[in-house]
């Protein structure tokens, strides 16, 4: 038997997740609702401090995306574990890292969608245009790194008894460089700083993304071992 190519396995897993989510809408609705509620809380708590709003916007976005992303990734992997389908995927003769990249692709897509929805919501409620190409690029880089580490650590956390609390405890400290770099880069964009003053942050994000993806590629086989 010839083995399925890496890319075909990644596409098969990602397509399966997208198709299932398109029908159930469980993840995206939970993540989206959570993100919009958090945005509204930020809005009402800052209503009396208009001078602080602008300074808080990037952090508001990334705190919201981080928690919504953790919720979505945790749920997705927990469902695979509870239904035994993770075993079904692991039984197949494909590299386990291909399973990781398939799950990662969808986790990244959903987290990026949430980031863009929150950006739109923040733009509306704070009357500031945030939907700019550089802002979206930062969101793409930041959510990629977050989804990369979230999917890796989430695959470990599903085996824990208290996985709902284990995942954030594992992910948030490791994701701190991503959140910090993304917030700083977003400040640069929001304050219309010269490009060269904040370009270091997207470069840092891209570097962290590469490191996390490489780590996951190397470690995912061991993460799934029982």
């Amino acid at each position: 038997m010839r083995r399925t190519s890496f890319s075909r396995a990644v596409i098969a897993v990602a397509r399966k997740d997208l198709r299932a989510e398109f029908r159930s809408r469980l993840l995206i609705s939970a993540m989206g609702l959570f993100a919009l509620l958090t945005t509204m809380i930020f809005y009402y708590t800052l209503e009396s401090r208009p001078e602080a709003r602008r300074a808080v916007l990037p952090a508001a976005l990334w705190v919201t995306v981080t928690f919504a992303g953790t919720l979505g990734i945790g749920r997705s992997l927990a469902a695979e574990h509870d239904r035994g389908t993770l075993d079904g995927l692991m039984l197949s003769p494909v590299p386990r890292s291909a399973l990781y990249f398939g799950k990662l692709a969808v986790a990244w897509l959903f987290t990026l969608i949430v980031a863009l929805v929150v950006t739109l919501a923040l733009s509306i409620v704070f009357n500031t245009n945030l939907l700019r190409l550089d802002w979206v690029l930062i969101a793409a880089l930041g959510t990629l790194g977050f989804a990369a580490i979230g999917t890796l650590l989430g695959s470990m956390a599903v085996y824990a008894r208290s996985r709902e609390t284990t995942l954030p405890i594992l992910v948030l400290p490791v994701a701190l460089p991503i959140i910090t770099a993304a917030v700083n880069a977003a400040h640069g964009v929001l304050d219309n700083q010269p490009f060269e003053e904040w370009i270091a942050y997207p470069l840092l994000l891209a570097s962290v993304d590469v490191v996390f993806l490489a780590l996951a590629y190397l470690l995912f086989d061991f993460v799934l071992e029982e």
């Binding site: 038997m1 083995r3 399925t4 035994g84 389908t85 197949s92 003769p93």
Partner: protein, 241 residues
Amino acid sequence: MADSALIQVESLSKAFGLRVVLRGVSFKVGRGELIALLGANGSGKTTLLRILATLSQPSGGSVVIGGWQLPKESAAVRGQLGVVTHLPLLYDDLSAMENLRLYAELYNLPQELGTAALQARLSDSLARVGLAKRTNDRVRTFSRGMQQRLALARAVLHDPAILLLDEPYTGLDAHGSALLDSLIAEWQAQGRTIIAALHDLPRAAALCKRALILGGGKLAADLPMPDPESLIATFNALTPS
């Protein structure tokens, strides 16, 4: 058993932390054998099958399947295995056909068979387990027994040489159980090697030619299948509750 055994397990042990589940289990399985794996709840049957299925790593000892050493060469073994567990390993929000197609893709069947032959195999598989009329229905709408029948179709979709069945009768009604009896006979006639963890001793005695009985994490007996009464007596003597 000759040294050309398809599955060779030597001094296998498995512990989860301080809890030892398997200790020093050794046996060999020849090509085409149909073996009942018996034991009380918690005796280590599922753990043993998970190790053979490459889902779990042994703590000690050695496992060789088809000449490949586990867990080092797990990837090579996986394509030869078909596994049924007490969970159906299916996606609720995909249809029966979509579930099979996903697994077909992961086993490289579209490239091996081509589109038309693959479609025929998927349709035949569903028809063989009595689900031809539910092809495009979501698994969420299936009864537990129908999900288990679909799981049987999934397990043999890629024509595996070895079948590992963990409580395969879970959720099946009388018709489903009779279907599985006939499938097991069919698979054995095709030369597949089958290890089935079973609780139903009379059924095990009727189906299988050999019994492995686990007790207290050890292989308590490896014997040619006796008649049902003798099997029950032996089982009760070796696995006190």
